[in-house]
């Protein structure tokens, strides 16, 4: 790990009294210059990229009291539901945001035909099954002949949202284009409840190659694995 070198500002040189002789002045100047150079060298050494803290004995605490923990690393774009408090991160180079509301977010995988939708409701109003079911109904209204996916290898085993076990399933349908039935679609919907919130996640893709579809699903998993429920 490198440490960025901070710009060095030399300490102010104290004003010399005029009554000092030239020799004394020169000597004092020499000492001050040496101090400045020494301090500069020390600062550069400590802030240089190769700097390492002095080794601590493995068994003894050293280096002073522990620093307060740094905040969690967030190296992607965070998104938080204003209404319900759950949050997640997505890579803007990988995902484009199609829409959002106080509780929903719709992302499209760049370069792939996959849409990820998340949303939810207060658990007092809707269970995991009902939020997932509502989203499935919404999808059903936009596609043709939605039905459970008969392919065993496409089953969603252990559905979760935000690592919370819940309900879910895999479905197939046909896209409903302007010119009538279009491409086959693969759909997965999951729902889960934690505390006061029930949430769902759904993916819809027309990727027919199973290997490519799995890679697209993996990208959606990566987003869902950043999920944080309200309250941690």
């Amino acid at each position: 790990m490198s440490v960025a070198a901070r710009p060095y500002a030399p300490p102010p040189v104290p004003a010399l009294r005029p009554r000092l002789a030239n020799k004394q002045l020169l000597a004092l100047f020499g000492v001050a210059l040496a101090a400045v150079v020494g301090a500069a060298a020390l600062a550069i050494a400590l802030s240089g990229p190769g700097a390492r803290p002095a080794p601590c004995p493995l068994d003894d605490p050293c280096g002073g009291p522990p620093a307060p923990p740094a905040p969690p690393l967030i190296n992607q774009t965070p998104w938080r539901s204003a209404d319900l408090g759950y949050q997640l991160e997505y890579d803007p180079a990988q995902w484009s945001k199609l829409s959002e509301s106080g509780s929903t977010l719709q992302l499209k995988l760049v370069g792939d035909d996959l849409v990820l939708v998340i949303g939810g409701a207060p658990s007092a109003q809707a269970s995991a099954s009902s939020v997932a079911g509502s989203e499935l109904d919404a999808i059903r209204g936009r596609v043709l002949s939605l039905s459970p996916d008969p392919a065993a290898e496409n089953r969603i085993l252990g559905p979760t949202v935000g690592y919370e076990p819940g309900v879910g399933g895999a479905y197939v349908a046909t896209s409903n284009g302007n010119a009538g039935p279009g491409a086959p679609l693969w759909i997965a919907v999951m729902g889960a409840t934690r505390g006061a919130v029930s949430a769902y996640a759904a993916v819809v893709t027309s990727e027919s190659d199973s290997s490519a579809r799995q890679n697209a699903y993996l990208a959606a998993d990566e987003v869902l694995n950043t999920w944080t429920w309200p309250g941690g």
Partner: protein, 541 residues
């Protein structure tokens, strides 16, 4: 005659298919017909073709099991009294006289022994196909499957001459169908976390523990190019001893498994850069037991990383293969060698690696053996300064990936596998895996150089060498360790801060939770704390 032979072979095809594990039971498992169609018989193995195979030697099983129990029982006077390979052979293998007799009988039949091991677990033999067929009463046939994989297998059950049987438990290696596969290594992944920072390895590195004087074996059914190691070193600014290679039965080839070899080597090197890595390489037709036997006989490595395995389903193993591997693993543990084995990448459904359309809970072998440390997977998150923040049990439920974990269908739970969480609602007396866990999610990928390119690894294939490298540092710091699995469970009780207990996430079926769990075992290491705990434990002995 020709027609007769063809028809005999055709009839034998079904039995071969059965032997090859293509005919399975109910419950959504593929039907024999569907899969048998994918396998084609190419014809008999030419009589003059050279056939390499092994005899798995019968050992004193009862005495060996008692010894292994005592070896890991702190209350036993034989606790941690490890044996050399030769001592193991003398104590538990066939007697010298019996072995000499077996060699004579083989020589008379034109089957020379090309390699034996001081641990007396197996004999490696080589003979013409015609000789082998006469000796065993089988016919050797060549096959190809839909993926283009080619192998040979015996039609009929190999039967040795009666006088050989007292010294021989099984015949291994006549069937060369590739069965072991690496855990999947998708090429995707994000920037690697700083392993040393996140897992508290930095204090060891700073104090000068970088793996000097330690040897880590990587066990592979493929090979890699030295230029990839050089590329990894240049990208990561690592300087360490050149990787050594031991070719077992001619070694592996550059193929789809090459990235696995690269991942294992590079991950060990990332954690313990000064450790000597020895890559034991066998062809895809090899057995894990062959790799382990060679490593044990070499007496160089006390720590090994293994990222190859197989869904633990009886018909998926080649005849004699499981016996061969078990014998070799027993001799490794008796010598105090610890093998870290990836638990698999399909979560609680490891057999999906073989049959994607199945959904029965299943585990990997030999990860499910109590003779290895089974390593599951996590997703790591860090703080802005690179410090450890949290880990989740690795599961990508949409894509169908996750860290392997569950119960062995065969092996009993060893007495040392104990502690909070071990006995749970799913316990049935069988061995439970994983033992520990490490970073495996693609999001937690580490840098890998493979086939001239820099990529990122993932999977429990990454977690296993991560543990092997960490243990090399710990061994350098704490001294000789022996087989560490029982020690890890005791440390989890006495010094739980040595582990990051992973309490969220899962593996597509089981959930991670406080204490041991089927998704992440005891958790991931705080390496410096674990090193101290191990050293204190070693001092107390």
């Amino acid at each position: 005659m020709k027609a007769q032979r063809s028809s005999a072979l055709a009839a034998a095809m079904l039995s071969a298919a059965l032997l090859l594990g293509l005919a399975l039971g109910e419950g959504g498992i593929p039907s024999p017909a569907r899969h048998a169609r994918r396998v084609q018989m190419l014809g008999p193995v030419p009589p003059e073709a050279t056939v390499a195979f092994s005899l798995v030697l019968r050992n004193r099983e009862g005495a060996l099991r008692r010894f292994l129990d005592d070896l890991n029982d702190p209350g036993s006077p034989r606790y941690r009294h490890y044996l050399t390979a030769a001592q193991f052979g003398a104590r538990f293998g066939p007697s010298r006289a019996r072995l000499a007799g077996l060699r004579r009988l083989l020589a008379v039949r034109g089957v020379p022994v090309v390699r034996s091991y001081p641990q007396r677990t197996a004999l490696e033999l080589r003979a013409s196909a015609a000789t082998v067929e006469r000796l065993m009463g089988v016919r050797l046939v060549r096959f190809v499957d839909g993926t283009g994989a080619r192998w040979r297998a015996p039609i009929g059950t190999p039967r040795l001459p009666r006088r050989m049987r007292p010294a021989v438990e099984a015949v291994s290696g006549l069937d060369t169908r590739p069965v072991y596969r690496p855990a999947d290594v998708p090429r995707r992944g994000l920037a690697p976390p700083d392993l040393a920072r996140a897992y508290d390895i930095e204090p060891l590195h700073r104090a000068g523990f970088n793996g000097e004087g330690q040897t880590v074996a990587v066990l592979s059914f493929s090979t890699s190019d030295d230029r990839d190691v050089a590329l990894f070193d240049s990208v990561t600014h690592i300087t360490g001893p050149p990787v050594k290679r031991v070719l077992v039965r001619g070694g592996g080839a550059i193929d789809d498994g090459t990235i696995e070899v690269n991942l294992d080597i590079d991950t060990v090197r990332a954690v313990a850069p000064k450790a000597q890595i020895i890559d034991y390489e066998a062809p895809a037709s090899g057995e894990i037991g062959e790799l382990v036997d060679r490593m044990v006989a070499d007496r160089r490595a006390k720590i090994a990383s293994l990222s190859w395995g197989n869904c633990d389903f009886p018909t998926l193993f080649r005849p004699g293969g499981r016996e061969r591997t078990t014998r070799a693993l027993q001799s490794a543990v008796s010598q105090g060698i610890t093998i870290f084995e990836a638990s698999g990448d399909h979560g609680a459904y490891e057999c999906q690696s073989k049959w994607p359309n199945t959904a029965f809970p299943s585990v990997d072998y030999p990860s499910a053996s109590p003779l290895v440390v089974s390593v599951g997977g996590t997703l790591l998150s860090v703080r802005e300064n690179g410090d450890y923040l949290v880990e989740h049990g690795w599961e990508d439920v949409l894509a169908g990936y996750g860290g392997g974990g569950g119960r062995s269908p065969i092996e009993a739970r060893p007495s040392w596998q104990a502690g909070p969480g071990v006995l749970n609602a799913y316990s049935n007396g069988r061995r439970q895996i994983p033992d520990v866990a490490g970073p495996a999610d693609p999001y937690s990928g580490v840098v890998v150089a493979s086939k001239g390119k820099i990529t990122r690894g993932n999977g429990t294939s990454q977690a296993a060498p991560f543990w092997a490298g960490s243990m090399a540092l710990i061994r350098q710091f704490a001294g000789a360790l022996g087989y560490v699995n029982p020690l890890l469970y005791r440390i989890a009780l006495t010094n739980p801060a040595a582990f990051h207990d992973v309490t969220s996430g899962g593996n597509r079926l089981f959930r991670a939770g406080p204490g041991w769990d089927y998704a992440t075992g005891l958790g991931s290491p705080d390496v410096t704390r674990l090193a101290r705990a191990v050293r204190d434990s070693v001092r107390r002995r």
